[in-house]
């Protein structure tokens, strides 16, 4: 599973599953020294790993750059549906 910060490119090369954020290059997990943001990205990617039902899914997370507040994910939710 992949994080994507270049949606069209991810789509073109055929990644099995990806979560997309429209963020600057070099920041696939977000800002430095922002662990809650980074862990949220990991959580959402792992959730897609468990739940994606078909190849090529690109989930747009819709997180705005530097305009969101993040909290520690509830990791107990990571169970395969």
């Amino acid at each position: 599973m992949s994080i994507s910060i270049a949606r069209d490119l991810t789509d073109a090369v055929g990644v099995p599953r990806a979560v997309f954020v429209k963020w600057p290059l070099g920041h696939p997990l977000g800002e430095p020294c922002a662990p809650l943001q980074q862990r949220t990205m990991i959580f959402r990617a792992l959730r897609l790993l468990l739940n994606a039902g078909q190849p090529g899914v690109i989930e747009d997370l819709g997180f705005r750059w530097r305009r969101e507040r993040y909290s520690e994910p509830d990791w107990s939710q990571l169970k395969q549906e």
């Binding site: 069209d8 073109a12 990644v15 429209k22 290059l25 070099g26 920041h27 696939p28 020294c33 790993l49």
Partner: protein
């Protein structure tokens, strides 16, 4: 220092740090990259065990490697299709980045934004993930021309075989 960025490359780094510009670049790059996908079929496999029993591996194209390893080749404008193995128990201070085609000053401050090994170690200790592979993989994600074939036919399959040999159940890929 070894990257020796030209002023044009520094300017490009700044421009591509603007999300809309990055998407425009991605759209152009997509047209070139589609030809490298064999038949349009996307490989896919569901995880066959609970995440708490699964083994993960990190793969990044952010130019991550150990300070003791040879840096990626910044002299070839087509890039460098080789990879570096990162041991799971490495001290994070031993990891560095060589990749002049994006602005990695923030990643130099906090490696987790491109290579979240510290977070994944923590998730293993919490029992969220079963285990991590003993080695992870760093690529340099600027590869053009004939070197794309080297990547797709030699080095990427090599890494895939190593992941399989290490009993990896899932890979977590981060671009730069």
């Amino acid at each position: 220092m070894r990257e020796n960025k030209s002023w044009v490359e520094k300017l490009a780094n700044r421009l591509y740090a603007i999300p809309s510009v990055a998407q425009f670049w991605a759209s152009r790059a997509a047209q070139r990259s589609a030809q490298f996908v064999d038949d349009g079929a996307i490989p896919f496999a569901r995880l066959t065990k609970p995440l708490s029993a699964a083994r993960g591996a990190l793969i990044t194209t952010a130019g991550v490697h150990l300070s003791s390893q040879p840096p990626f080749d910044m002299t070839n404008s087509d890039g460098d299709p080789t990879y570096r193995e990162i041991p799971v128990d490495v001290a994070l201070e031993e990891i560095t980045i060589t990749h002049k085609y994006y602005d990695h000053r923030d990643a130099d401050v906090d490696l987790n934004i491109v290579f979240p090994l510290a977070h994944f170690r923590d998730l293993v200790s919490q029992g969220v993930i079963g285990s991590l592979a003993t080695r992870h993989f760093g690529f340099m994600g600027h590869i053009e021309g004939d070197l794309v074939t080297t990547l797709t036919r030699r080095t990427a399959p090599e890494v895939a075989a190593k992941l399989r040999a290490d009993g990896v159940d899932f890979a977590f890929l981060t671009p730069a």
